[in-house]
Symmetry: C2
Subunit: 208 residues, 2 copies
DNA sequence: CTAACATTTTTCCAATTGGTCAAATTTTGA
DNA sequence: TCAAAATTTGACCAATTGGAAAAATGTTAG
């Protein structure tokens, strides 16, 4: 036994299980994923897995809790003292990189929110909403000082989430529509150029 | 017996089942939905339902096939002879109205594509891709004639889908973040103003 | 009216799956 | 070293669920 009531094996195995769960849940969704699949992916038997987590829902919930932090990190890094357009387009790029590099995480969230976000409503109404409120305040400051166009910060943030995560969540559609010839990573390069353009033009302060 | 090998009762009951399936699938997803739930929602017994459809997948597939048409309709209505900015912002508004008025349809698609779109890949690679290709061609024409900014038509279409459907697919998150005070239909009015602004500014032809 | 056909219900089954339990094995600390 | 604690396994169970079969009931055309 050790600090926080966790043994070394417990820490390692829980980690292993959450990594496996990320794989399975992101492909199968919550209902579609079976405890057996997760156990197999984690290299252990089902009862063994259930020794570490009381049930399937607990795995999912803890996974989401942990992911939310990484997921929100780019938004935290917006600097109120920086140039708004540089800050926001940098945020867009960081989100797009995450969609490219962490599609499993993105899909798990999409899945959960599609289903009504019942398991993580507390996190959304808490942590997430507070961060959005804070950064919306920062943007309002920029707008008042005439440094960027006067647009609703909340809808701006929604549109950034939507446009970037689209490339992970709806990857199957994007690939199919672009066709095999445009299916390397240039799909993300194209998105990068397009989104940079989009937000740069929209955020440019209006004359007057 | 009647035309197309369908009796009156068959036509009516199939319709009833598809409407019920829309309700159930859009809330529970494919894996989460049970045949019993759909049968109950359609006001009949499970074996009775299975008299009309061979299995659960068949219901889902036919539902999607039928929905795709309505879903793509707004994109078909873009007029190559009209003003690009008017045409595209009108398209955005129509898509946003559909997200507001037909959230079940939107969520079913989102769910299916998230899962890899295996059941409707044929439709996406066929019907959908062809329409997108065609309208991308129209946009390229507009761009060449200097009537709108030079942006990638495919990514433009993706961003329109993403930003509008966000309000149905991720409704739970949008509501939670906006908080109870902004939760009437003004959430769609705000989105409408924001998106109109967004695309108007981005599409404005560049000087030169 | 009635035979052919369409629809519905009752009953049932096999597979899947989340989870339990007690026994066996391994690890750890004194 | 060795007993207590932690971990793992195998066997098992009950609930859910997709679907089949056949009997019962309803409908319709001649």
């Amino acid at each position: 036994m050790n600090q926080e009531g966790q043994t070394r094996i417990q820490r390692e195995k829980r980690e292993l299980i959450l990594e496996a769960a990320l794989d399975v849940f992101s492909v199968q969704g919550f209902r579609g994923a079976t405890v057996d699949q997760i156990a197999l992916a984690a290299g252990m038997s089902k009862p063994n897995l259930l020794y570490y987590f009381p049930n399937k829902e607990a795995i999912h919930h803890q996974l989401m809790e942990r992911l939310l932090d990484t997921w929100l990190q780019p938004l935290e890094h917006m600097n109120p003292l920086g140039d708004p357009i540089a800050e926001i387009t940098a945020y867009v790029q960081r989100k797009l990189e995450m969609a490219r590099d962490y599609p499993r995480e993105s899909r798990i969230f999409a899945n959960e929110i599609l289903r009504g976000a019942k398991q993580i409503m507390d996190l959304i109404e808490g942590e997430l909403k507070e961060l959005v409120d804070k950064q919306a305040g920062v943007m309002r400051g920029w707008i008042e000082r005439g440094q960027m166009a006067d647009v609703d910060p909340y809808h701006l943030i929604f549109s950034i989430w939507a446009t970037t995560q689209h490339y992970s969540d709806f990857d199957a559609q994007v690939r199919a529509v672009l066709g095999p010839e445009r299916n390397g990573n240039e799909r993300f390069e194209g998105a990068s150029r397009y989104l940079d353009r989009l937000y740069r033009k929209m955020l440019a302060p209006d004359a007057g």
